[in-house]
Amino acid sequence: MDELQRVMCVEDDPDIRMILEFSLGRLGGYTLSLCASGQEALDQAARFAPQLVLLDVMMPKMSGPETLQHLRSVDCMRGVPIVFLTAKALQDDVEALLEQGATGIIVKPFDPVTLPKDIRIYWKHGRDIHP
């Protein structure tokens, strides 16, 4: 499929899910799966078959990096770009997250107007490095 349509967002903060829905769903026109936890993402991944995942790093119970590892074991998720959302932007953190298999990092707070274009870039980039 040559167009990004289905985006899964995994974020425990309801206010961030609300602005993600507005930014990516309303402004960007993507079809979204909004998940409040890593477990919810795992439950929905096979059915929704996301083309890109936005994943919060700091979540209770199952962290973003743990969720990433579990998602990678789901058949339909192999090669799907996974981009971390984090309020921390320290260089060491960024490198560690990329080493864990993330396609990229988006630092919170993000701009809801430009986010739809930003994730499309990550999607194209991710397809190149995870064909």
């Binding site: 206010d15 609300m18 507005f22 309303r26 402004l27 919170k108 707070p109 993000f110 701009d111 809801p112």
Partner: protein
């Protein structure tokens, strides 16, 4: 802080919808303030500040986000002495923003 402004570059057709979710965010600030004030330990305080730092700017409250980030950084090791002042500034900003909503 202006709670009715629209982000630069946003199609005005979406302005009302953005204003609506922004009000919802502002209405939730009292709960965030309580979370910060009643945090049972340093980890819970850090987590509450981290969440606020990550979300406020997306709704256009950059200053509030910066104050939350400063307080969050003060919870880490060396900044301990700055924490009371950072929290007091954040509390004032939370109340001003909440009152404006």
């Amino acid at each position: 802080m202006d709670v009715t402004s629209t982000p630069e570059g946003m199609n005005l057709a979406f302005a009302d919808e953005f204003a609506r979710i922004r009000r919802t965010f502002v209405q939730g600030l009292a709960k965030r303030e309580a979370e910060i004030e009643q945090a049972p330990d340093r980890a819970a305080l850090h987590a509450a500040l981290h969440r606020l730092a990550g979300v406020a700017g997306a709704y256009g409250f950059e200053e509030l986000g910066q104050l939350a980030r400063s307080a969050m950084e003060a919870t880490d090791g060396d900044g301990e002495a700055d924490l009371p002042l950072a929290l007091a500034r954040l509390k004032r900003a939370l109340q001003c923003t909440g009152d404006a909503g």
